[in-house]
């Protein structure tokens, strides 16, 4: 047995290393927070670490009047709401028939091949863009929701979870004359709450964090979701302008740092709010996700 209360130097070292690694993961958020509360001069001079320098609320006062920021915030909220609802509806309605065996649902074998193929064969960015364009969804919120509506990975996750639901429950309901819809609604969904919660949370995070769909499908900044807006203001290198090291330096030194940090904080707060729930569930998701035969 390992003796308690005895602190050898190796144990101390382990604590130190783990603490440093832990703090390094807090740094991004603390640094952004500190920048957002610092004066522009201090931030530009690179003096801000994890504690605000020349504490000020001016960045937050300024962004209160930034109409585009709040518009983008609302677009992202709406997207999360609509997108996640559609994701979950489709995950469940696809996963349930797919979880039936050959005897119960003969076409299962063909359908699963389709879904797996869609999952494995991706990366056709240009043709997908052209389909969205042809459907007239450029600059519409649906372009952020429909192309990724079927999250194939989650369908497989859900399908495996449904397969683990005890058969006895279902057979009892069948004898009572329940239709597949009723069985799904009354038995499978209640039995799969942790898995559904995991998928809901993952979908929320995905929709909230995705900047690329906005960049691809929105031609007007007016329609950008929040992450795309942040991406535009905070991190894009304007490719045409950076021609040498000096230009790059100038770009990285622009004094918008504090303002941008405040906007980033606004974009991270919703994530931090759901993080406790996320943490409760994502380990379950990973354990379920590691499929065993």
């Amino acid at each position: 047995m390992i003796k308690r209360g005895k602190l050898d130097s190796l144990t101390v070292l382990i604590y130190v290393v783990v603490t440093v690694l832990g703090l390094s993961c807090l740094f991004p958020i603390l640094n952004t927070l500190a920048l957002s509360f610092s004066s522009s001069a201090a931030a530009t001079a690179g003096k801000v670490g994890i504690i605000p320098v020349d504490f000020t609320l001016s960045s937050y006062q300024k962004i209160l009047n930034d109409q585009q920021l709040w518009r983008s915030f609302l677009i992202s909220m709406l997207r999360v709401l609509l997108g996640t609802s559609l994701n979950i509806f489709l995950v469940i309605t696809l996963a349930y028939p797919l979880s039936r065996n050959q005897r119960e649902f003969g076409a299962q074998k063909i359908y699963i091949k389709f879904v797996l193929f869609a999952m494995l064969f991706n990366g056709v960015m240009v043709p997908t863009y052209m389909v969205v364009q042809k459907l007239g969804m450029i600059n519409s919120i649906w372009s952020l929701i429909f192309p990724g509506a079927v999250s194939t990975g989650n369908v497989i996750l859900m399908m495996n979870f449904f397969r683990s639901v005890p058969k006895a429950l279902e057979e009892a309901a069948e004898i009572d004359g329940a239709t597949p819809f009723q069985i799904l609604w009354n038995i499978f969904i209640p039995a799969s709450k942790p898995c559904i919660a995991t998928i809901v949370l993952f979908c929320i995070v995905w929709h909230w964090n995705d900047y690329f769909s906005g960049l691809l499908y929105m031609t007007k900044v007016h329609n950008y979701p929040l992450q795309t807006y942040i991406q535009m203001i905070a991190t894009t290198f304007d490719i045409s302008k950076i021609t040498d090291i000096k230009k790059l330096q100038e770009f990285l030194m622009i004094s918008e740092k504090t303002l941008n940090s405040a906007k980033i904080v606004v974009s991270v707060i919703p994530l931090l709010l759901i993080y406790p729930f996320l943490q409760k569930y994502f380990t379950t998701g990973l354990v379920v996700g590691a499929v065993k035969e």
Binding site: P28, V131, F146, T236, L286, E293
Partner: protein, 303 residues
């Protein structure tokens, strides 16, 4: 009394299942399968004005062009080098971290650390890139440190020498905590009796690590490695797109960023589709191979 469900014929029940699949299948067809037909653009000299049906067919010319380009050899090697580094560090650091965390007996401290290290995974690269830019900028903390020891400051994000290293290390920084979950779970699965027996036999910390802990998590390490290998052509678009600039195209431009720039920004649809197609096909073959491998040597599968 028996309800209708009991008597419901199997074919009729199957119609319910087909009906349930319908909405999802419609979305899959429109947004996954129809775009696959767009792949024919890779074999055309596509022009949006003419459309797919009218555009000129040029066979494999696009592919010949891609493989003839000096630039594309660079892009392939960038992609493979960066993702190889990420795969390696993406296993090494989480394994080491979980081994360290496993040695910690204070439950409260352990749980707090876990809560913190999982967090960066959920931040988007847009947010994380802003922080990375700050750290590696000319006036950032790393350069301040260098100057303190008398070294000339380096423009890290504009340096072809440093760019890949920064991509690999910052990616592990963001993901190591989340990546350690699976190993921590495997560590709790090791029989405590083994440790007790080893202690009685006088095995110290290192011996226990070498003979019990490492062999105990070796299977999961091998599984994770196999599952990660198909990602060799995914060097991480979101990260690189948010951190690169023309100065580091030579070392940092990867397949996905190239597809986006050429296919979307420059509107060379055929070229973009051709590169995307190469990536998709190779990626799919690798995943299928990895899945085969994982199922043969373990009781798991990828999908």
């Amino acid at each position: 009394m028996k309800g209708i469900g009991y008597f419901m014929s199997r074919p009729k029940k199957q119609w319910y299942y087909h009906l349930m699949m319908l909405p999802g299948m419609i979305f899959l067809i429109i947004f996954n399968f129809i775009p696959m037909f767009g792949i024919v653009m890779a074999f055309q000299d596509f022009s949006p004005a003419k459309g797919i049906l009218e555009s000129r067919w040029i066979g494999l010319d696009n592919f010949k062009f891609i493989f003839g380009l000096k630039e594309s050899r660079q892009i392939f090697s960038n992609t493979i080098i960066i993702s190889f580094g990420k795969i390696l560090l993406g296993i090494l650091i989480p394994v080491c971290f979980s081994l360290l965390l496993n040695e910690i007996k204070a439950q409260f401290f352990k749980r707090m650390v876990q809560t913190i290290v999982y967090m960066p995974h959920f931040l988007s690269w847009v947010v994380f890139a802003a922080v990375v830019q700050g750290i590696f900028s000319y006036d950032g903390p790393i350069n301040a440190l260098l100057m303190a020891v008398g070294v000339e400051p380096v423009m890290f994000l504009g340096s072809n020498q440093w760019f890949r290293t920064i991509m690999v290390t910052t990616d592990s920084w963001k993901e190591f905590g989340y990546g350690s979950i699976i190993y921590l779970a495997a560590l709790t699965g090791i029989d405590p009796g083994l440790y007790e027996a080893a202690s009685i036999d006088g095995a110290g910390r290192w011996k226990r690590l070498l003979h019990i802990t490492l062999p105990g998590i070796m299977p999961i390490i091998l599984i994770m490695l196999t599952m990660a290998l198909p990602n060799i052509l995914n060097a991480g678009f979101d990260q690189i797109f948010n951190l690169y600039n023309p100065l580091v195209y030579k070392s940092g431009d990867i397949l996905d960023t190239y597809v986006y720039r050429v296919g979307m920004l420059k509107r060379q649809y055929s070229l973009g589709t051709a590169v995307g197609l190469i990536k998709s096909v190779v990626g799919m073959i690798l995943i299928l191979a990895a899945n085969k491998l994982v199922t043969t040597f373990s009781d798991r599968r990828m999908f």
